[in-house]
């Protein structure tokens, strides 16, 4: 019987500071056993439990993309016991990852559609995974227009800056990068919160356009009315939730919202589905 609690052993291959305040780092892991990488086959939007031996586990969205082979990456905010310890680890250290867990963004439904991505702060990880997946030469033709609104407090708090710049220069993706404010005179992108920038730049809704929204609660709160104003119906608005988790496989009982388990039935839900559940997230 396969033990779903047993993490795959991994080596930290590289650690990069992801934001100017050093509160986020991106960890690149390599599987110690090559065959585990195949078993870890994932879709954009899924997460995994990072297991730090002696400290515990923490559920984190997968930031690398299924089209990137040989490693997996996670961008982790330093917040609690496990993540603080993780931030003090070094390349070469051995730890575990368990997954992939949860559903993913609904790629079957999204194929052939225009995609609007709205992200804020450090919630951009699985969105980055999704963008890299869609922009892959083998996949780009499967999608219509791709628009991305991504905002952070300041330029230094944007994740994956080099990639953002590269995407800006492409003509097959419309980037709308924004910051709450900056004193950088050379800042050439938007200034303003995500909701108003979305209202101004995002495409209007139609049957063939889906919005994927991921960000802090305050951003979600003010972005949803904007999307409604733009005509997005609730079954075309896709969101990813976070709740406290332990097992990640639907057994330990704490992450439920009504009858749905965020770890197993989610973390991705349409707004339509969320409207039917208690708001316990």
């Amino acid at each position: 019987m396969k033990n779903p609690y047993l993490p795959y052993p991994v080596r930290i291959d590289n650690i990069e500071i992801a934001t100017e305040d050093k509160s986020l780092k991106t960890f690149k892991f390599v599987f110690l056993n090559k065959e585990d990488e195949e078993k870890f086959a994932y879709r954009a939007g899924q997460f995994a439990e990072l297991s730090v031996t002696g400290k515990g586990e923490i559920p984190i969205g997968i930031a690398s993309s299924p089209v990137e082979k040989g490693f997996v990456t996670f961008t982790v905010n330093k917040a609690g016991l496990v993540t603080s310890h993780l931030h003090n680890m070094k390349a070469g250290d051995i730890m575990g990852i368990r997954g992939p867990l949860g559903n993913s963004y609904p790629w079957d439904r999204l194929e052939g559609k225009n995609i609007l991505i709205v992200g804020g702060g450090f919630a951009f990880t699985t969105l980055r995974s999704s963008i890299v997946y869609m922009l892959d030469p083998a996949n780009r033709s499967k999608f219509g227009n791709i628009d991305v609104v991504y905002g952070a407090r300041s330029p230094g708090m944007l994740l994956y800056k080099e990639e953002l710049v590269q995407w800006e220069e492409r003509d097959d993706i419309n980037m709308h990068i924004t910051v709450d404010g900056t004193d950088d005179p050379d800042w050439k992108y938007n200034i303003g919160f995500v909701p108003p920038v979305t209202e101004e730049k995002a495409p209007r809704a139609d049957e063939n356009t889906y919005a994927i929204v991921c960000g802090p609660p305050i951003m979600i709160k003010f972005t949803l009315p904007v999307l409604e104003k733009l005509g997005y119906s609730h079954d075309h608005i896709i969101m990813s939730l976070e709740n406290r988790m332990k097992c990640g496989i639907g057994m330990c009982g704490r992450c439920n919202i009504g009858k749905e388990l965020v770890c197993k039935d989610g973390p991705v839900f349409t707004l339509d589905e969320l409207n039917e559940t208690p708001k316990e997230y």
Partner: protein, 345 residues
């Protein structure tokens, strides 16, 4: 229906004999207490089939604390930081003297731990290794409402053998081949006479008739989750609750758990421990945000899970077998039967 007759004089001898193939578990009286607890039976120790158990027997399959993995954080070792599952004893075990509804509770737990996508090997292996030998409840307690929950004092759905105490004898109703195998090992093979099945049926009817407490959840099925969730009766229901968690610990169907690493020097163990939705830390985010911050939210979660979410998810009744433990042991007299009635009205 195959029924074996066990003379009570042959009871101790048969149990002893069955130890050749099984580890035995059963209710045992706690020292200086007037209640029992399910334990592995020591040498010559006999199960007490009459004693009330406060904690359900779920711990026999699902211990309150269980080691999932062992590890070393010693960097000079090759296996530094790697998790290893300890050898687990999965030899056959017989759980003797479990009530029919406590046995049925394992079928509810099975839905959680044995799913099409994932199987919890700790739970599943223990469950598979177990033979459940139930004792029919001839004198149901006043808090027993098991006939309303698809089980009952003589229910065999979770059992391999049902023992019926007729005074001088036990009539052992053979429910599964697993049960038959146990009876053979114990040397109990004499079939009861032709009227045994009728006798069991009569006693079953008599026991069921003694149950005075009934609940109905027909209307709960037809109400929406949000309608029940947003109802204004939760304030009243949760008012007296002190969030002690007793209800969740004594419940045979509560399955929630926590995972914790415990270190001693550079060695450690990853444990699976019972947890409770009554505790605020159960759902507390690292940010300080808590989706079930208030007592009302937590009490509502427990009853909604048992009486609505489970029903909607599996379409197979409620997550309760009507044993009455939470009713008897709640220090502030919160009664699931009343809650169910309120939700159903």
């Amino acid at each position: 229906m195959k029924v074996i007759k066990i003379d009570k004089k042959a009871w101790a001898g048969g149990l002893e004999k069955s130890r050749s193939g099984y580890k035995l578990f059963g209710p045992v009286k706690e020292k200086n207490k007037n209640f029992g607890i399910f334990k592995e039976l020591g040498e010559k120790q006999m199960p007490d089939l009459k004693i009330e158990t406060r904690l359900s027997p779920k711990s026999v399959i699902y211990p309150q604390s269980e080691v999932m993995f062992e590890y070393s954080t010693d960097e000079t070792r090759d296996d530094c930081n790697l998790m290893k599952a300890p050898e687990k004893d999965c030899s056959p075990r017989a759980i003797i003297g479990i009530s029919p509804y406590d046995a049925a509770a394992f079928l509810i737990l099975k839905r959680n731990f044995d799913t099409p996508e994932y199987k919890d090997p700790y739970w599943c292996n223990s469950f598979e290794a177990s033979t459940f030998i139930g004792i029919a409840v001839n004198e149901p307690d006043s808090t027993d409402f098991s006939t309303s929950t698809k089980t009952g004092p003589f229910d065999t759905s979770g059992l391999d053998i049902l023992l019926v105490d007729t005074g001088d004898d036990y009539l052992a109703q053979v429910v599964t081949p697993k049960g038959e195998k146990y009876l053979k090992t114990a040397g109990w093979e004499v079939e009861a006479g032709g009227d045994a099945a009728n006798k069991i049926e009569e006693m079953k009817k008599a026991a069921e008739a003694k149950i005075s407490s009934h609940i109905s959840f027909e209307n709960i099925k037809n109400k929406s989750i949000l309608e029940l969730y947003e109802a204004d009766f939760w304030e009243d229901i949760s008012f007296a609750c002190i969030n002690c968690g007793t209800c969740t610990y004594v419940c045979p169907t509560c399955w929630c758990f926590d995972i914790q690493d415990e270190n001693k020097g550079n060695k450690g163990k990853r444990h699976k421990n019972w947890d409770s939705c009554m505790f605020p830390i159960f759902t507390l985010h690292t940010t300080g945000h808590n989706p079930r911050e208030t007592k009302l939210q937590r009490v509502r979660q427990r009853f909604m899970h048992k009486l609505k979410y489970f029903m909607d998810k599996y379409n197979d009744g409620i997550m309760c077998v009507g044993c009455g433990r939470c009713v008897r042991l709640c220090p502030v007299n919160i009664d699931i039967r009343t809650v169910c009635k309120t939700m159903n009205s």
